[in-house]
Amino acid sequence: MTSLIELTAVTRTFGAFVALADITLSLPPGRIGLLGPNGAGKSTLLKLLMGLLTPTSGTGRVLDEQLGGDRDSAGNWRLRRLIGFMPEADALVPGLTGVEYVSLAGELYGLPRREAQRRAHEVLSYLELEEARYRRVEEYSAGMKQRVKLAQAVVHDPPVLLLDEPTSGLDPAGRDAMLRLIKALAIDHGKSVLLSTHLLADVEAVCERVVILAGGRVRGQGTVRELCARRQNRYRIRVQGELDRFRQELTAAGATVLSDDGHGEWRLAVPSGWANLTFFQLAHTTGALIRALIPDDETLEELFLRTVGV
């Protein structure tokens, strides 16, 4: 199985400013999250992958196409046809209806005219915009606008999708719908997805792997499970009732309360060999009520903050 993206010591400078330094990535096909603070070089990396910029040094490959060719060459067209890009910006053409917009996108990707129109209708139905497809795109709601942008990225059936903040401006219901659609496209239809976003919850919901960029360098890459540390002896607990007595008993039994938010949500460290049954026994005797008990593994956010060096 060819890897999706291979970058070897890729550097990109703009005059004296180094946007990307010595990036080496090897990513298999699948769902990948691209994370990083502002100014980390995420947008430069995306432009490189799409062939809009060439590396100052180093080589790279997306599926079968090499990066770094002449900007207007046939190789570059092939590269961009492999990729469906959903921009963060508005990127709509006001005055066109939904179908016209997506079929224009199809024709720009090189589909023959009738094929593009047919695909536009199909893709819009799949993305739940069937009733709205004859309305003008500037009249769409925020959720519909994002979905029509996804439609124009998918119209030519690319193997790779590059999504830049796909859930920006969406309310929680819209966000769920968008993430569900992206996951369905990736899992059911075998597309690889590179998701660039600030919302770590999106990455947790959709992606198997993450790449963390900061300061132009790769600070971490791998599956979420590999990267997030497993903390064997840490728990988060939510309790109600006789909190002070319960806390005393816990500390006496050997557990340490690491943080307390004042409303009964605690983080604990327990000694090795601890049985969770002890929690319940102590709660029972002191009259506290345990409403949740969750192993406190590192969350993606904690991983991010740790990796980026804050």
Binding site: L35, G36, P37, N38, G39, E128, S141, A142, G143, M144, E165, S168, G169, L170, D171, P172, A173, G174, R175, D176, A177, R180, H198, L199, L200, A201, Q240, H263, A275, N276, L277, F280, Q281, A283, H284, L289, I290, R291, A292, L293, I294, P295, E301, F304, L305, V308, V310
Partner: protein
């Protein structure tokens, strides 16, 4: 802390009965000693734009702390915030800030507003922009300069505020907006989508800033779609849907009121089927299913959460079960919003 007060208005026959109504003074008896009027009070406020109904009998009261305002797009959140700000007048009802009408200039002095859209003069620097707004507030030049510096220090922009606004990132713009909202030391801060488009580090810093502001006694009303971040900040939310306040209170209280939806709890144990038999014997349990995923466990649907957890605790102790995880799956703001809005997920 805000009052531990809950209401579910969706089932009330005549619309939102609301959290609390201001008591009407009886004309003949001696007036009782009036407590400080609430910081923000919406009294049965409705607002029309032509025939479009934006707010429908909204009643809301804030006295302090951080309150989250959540809801779908088009539910009326921005309208509500602009009314609290004094930019819009209600068609029916009253909006008051400490007893004064919200559009009165004395009331506006107590309110700071951080809008969601940028409306900057892009050629000014951040410092100049904030200084200009300070002068617009009515401060003298010297005082405006001093306040500008103080407020820029507060939001962490003191070193970076000399570049023109055109080159600012989203996070920096949000901080400048926050700075101008803090210029006149308002008691009430209204923030419309302050966290959109900000990277996780910036988000963390802003959340800490909000907590600091709240601990200094300011009241914050934050409207946001980022429910996970809001939950870290506060427990107290107001949920809006279709121009009405659907529910106000802490998340737990709202969840407890949603009696139609039993609580889903995930329980990870080594021998799920045995525990399932025991759990089904409990009266509060409605359904048990075996959990999918790598680790073995159960998903239990239970009514009366408090009684269920008590019974479950007893069960664990009696039968010496080693439980690896107990996690309620739909107590988050996200799940509650989904239930309240019917959960179809279409926008």
């Amino acid at each position: 802390m805000p009052p531990a007060d809950t209401s579910l208005a969706a089932n009330a026959p005549s619309g939102a009965e609301g959290a609390r109504r201001a008591p009407l003074p009886s004309p003949t008896a001696a007036p009782p000693p009036t407590p400080d009027p609430p910081l923000l009070l919406f009294e049965q406020v409705s607002k029309w734009y032509g025939t479009v109904l934006a707010l429908n009998q909204v009643t809301l009261e804030l006295t302090g702390g951080i309150t989250g305002l959540v809801g779908a797009n088009g539910a009326g959140k921005s309208t509500l915030l602009r009314m609290a700000n004094g930019q819009l007048k209600p068609t029916l009802g009253r909006v008051t800030i400490r007893g004064l009408d919200a559009w009165d200039w004395r009331a506006r002095r107590r309110v700071g507003y951080c809008p969601d859209l940028d409306a900057f003069y892009e050629d000014l620097s951040g410092r100049q922009f904030v200084w200009t707004l300070a002068r617009l507030c009515g401060y003298t030049r010297a005082e405006a300069t001093e306040r500008t510096e103080r407020v820029l220090e507060r939001v962490g922009m003191r070193e970076r505020a000399n570049r023109t606004l055109r080159g600012y990132s989203k996070g920096m713009r949000q901080r400048i907006k926050l700075a101008q909202a803090l210029l006149h030391d308002p008691e009430l801060l209204i923030l419309d989508e302050p966290l959109s488009g900000i990277d996780p580090i910036g988000r963390q810093e802003l959340l800490e800033l909000f907590q600091q502001l709240a601990s200094q006694g300011k009241c914050l009303l934050i409207s946001s779609h980022e429910l996970e971040a809001l939950e870290k900040l506060t427990n107290h939310v107001a949920i809006m849907a279709r121009g009405r306040i659907a529910a106000v209170g802490t998340l737990r209280q709202i969840r407890d009121l949603l009696e139609d939806y039993p609580l889903s709890v995930r329980i990870d144990v080594d021998q799920p089927r045995e525990l399932a038999r025991a759990v089904l014997a409990l009266a509060e349990v409605q359904a048990v299913s075996l959990a999918s995923g790598d680790t073995p466990g159960l998903v239990v649907q239970a009514r009366h959460p408090k009684r269920f957890f008590q019974a479950f605790g007893r069960l664990v102790v009696e039968q010496h079960v080693e439980v690896h995880r107990v996690e309620p799956l739909d107590e988050s703001a996200h799940a509650i919003l989904g239930y309240l809005l019917g959960g179809s997920g279409r926008t």
